[in-house]
Symmetry: C2
Subunit: 346 residues, 2 copies
Amino acid sequence: MLRRMNGPVTLRDVALAAKVSVSTASRALTGAGLTSRGTEQRLQRIAAELGYRPNTLARGLKTRSSKLVGLVVHNLTNASFRVLAEVVGERLRAAGYQMLLCVTSDEPERERETIATLTDQRVDGLIICPTGRNGAQLAMLERGNTPVVCVVRQDPAAEAETVLAADPEGAYAGTRYLLELGHRRIGLIVGRQETTSGRERLSGYRRALEEAGLPFLAELVHAGPYVPETGLAGCAALLDRPHRPTALFVANHESTLGVLRGVAERGIAVPDGLSLLCYEDMPGLAWQRPAISVVDSGAVAMAELAADRLLQRLGGGAGAALRRGQEYRVGARLIRRQSCSPHTEA
Amino acid sequence: MLRRMNGPVTLRDVALAAKVSVSTASRALTGAGLTSRGTEQRLQRIAAELGYRPNTLARGLKTRSSKLVGLVVHNLTNASFRVLAEVVGERLRAAGYQMLLCVTSDEPERERETIATLTDQRVDGLIICPTGRNGAQLAMLERGNTPVVCVVRQDPAAEAETVLAADPEGAYAGTRYLLELGHRRIGLIVGRQETTSGRERLSGYRRALEEAGLPFLAELVHAGPYVPETGLAGCAALLDRPHRPTALFVANHESTLGVLRGVAERGIAVPDGLSLLCYEDMPGLAWQRPAISVVDSGAVAMAELAADRLLQRLGGGAGAALRRGQEYRVGARLIRRQSCSPHTEA
DNA sequence: CTGTTAGCGCCTTCAC
DNA sequence: GTGAAGGCGCTAACAG
């Protein structure tokens, strides 16, 4: 039972040792039941003894399936992306796929390269938070029969299915919560209006105000990129004024860090001096004292859904067809903790 | 210039279009200068026009190199692992490799499976934070000429190079800093003593105390797993007592969250009522008010070094040889912010 | 149920 | 400098 060379044990080695043809060995080990019960077990045993492991590359070359799926996100700092990476990775693993994780920093050029490389690797599928500038390439992938699922952001040109957060509803629910607590001057710190989430969260806020018969005041809104500095600047813009808001809605967790600092530096007590509500949950917020109330954007659900859709399409069974442009929304959820209190004053 | 079928453009298509043999096309495109300047450029152009992209699987099958590298970590919550994923991913990408990210939850069985799968995928290399129970498999990889670099934790059986934090020195430096501020009763909340980092950070603390001529008091130490709850429990154990410590050293960032809450709930002012020093930096800590002083364990440097060593060994140039059992330590760094103040009292 | 034959797409001797 | 031929390890017809 000597092997002819060093290097990994190949199917040929197993076949040789078992005195059968390579194809029989293949059939026995892929276990589709295309061989007699006896040889199947015998080959399984011999393969195990020899420490045989199939070469995924060779198999993939033949079957046109690499068992690789790309996950493309902007970074790993954002809690949603982190959740995405963990959840999707786990789901894929359970289904026999491996995850190629790529970070684009939200730069179109990087994204372009990334998609190209993943294509070269012949990934079986792709889950991506698109920049919106490489939709054509994504559409090309779909056309080449490689399923693509967009998450968090949309890219119409990609013609792919998309899993989004219910941002308009989430922001509406959050604002509404503050209104029901009696707040009338509600500040909003929100993402750049060039992004979908930035726009949608602002619109949810506006709608809640309108329904409550309150005017929309631009002076109560501060928009900026998804970084802590935005929160800090927002505090300066909204809190350092005579008639300051009694509640502050911070529409992303990156800005929240800056707001926490801005509020602390001004010696403002939460929730007595200011009610604080944030968007997107992350571990740190529940551990703050007072614990920060949030609108959870549902990152886990988004990740699960994205994985579901991709796996279904990979599986080829029911629901495997591309639902072109189909848009899924996962619900946001208000989590009441300690940072918001009723406002009782004219 | 019609292609015979749908599906990706193959090298053969390019050769056909250029009226050269497949091998010439191959040589021209791999660009080793084995063909005439003219045909090389011509083929580059034609390939580009046709949108040719090499099939990594096929190439890998031949060259025995998948251009894939596995990164195996326990989770993506821990800041060091996150940094590892981002930095290593970027370094690999720049070097033409793709990263297969795998999460083991620190479970040996999961790790075993993961290593097996990565082996099947014929990864060119592996960076792993080992559980310590699958060293034999890792050693097997090395023997099969696949470089392995261990990070954060060691696994003697793996016989691999290892990049570690300088935990003994870091904990020593942190404790020493508090001592120099005049503190004499310094509490320590530290990781489980079954882990290397848990033991090493405790030992650094002890050494600093001894050097200062202070006794080691078990009552000032609380050990537990890397979760916020440990910090909360540690507060109960160390702060709810008559003669409480004047400074608290929290030796991992997971516990820090719990400590922040525990301290806030007790109405203890930082740093006046208690100096607080944490281990492992993360974005949130710098944004806290007061900003939390930390001993940065050097996750970025560890990631860089691990990537360096792996790429060197993959590159095959100088320094490509395995330095069996070689252990690298990256320095910890004290970052003074606002959470520690001098203790001035008998 | 099993063996034989043909590739998957690419690289790489070996000739010319 | 270029072409022809063989094979990486595996699977999938096609025969028997």
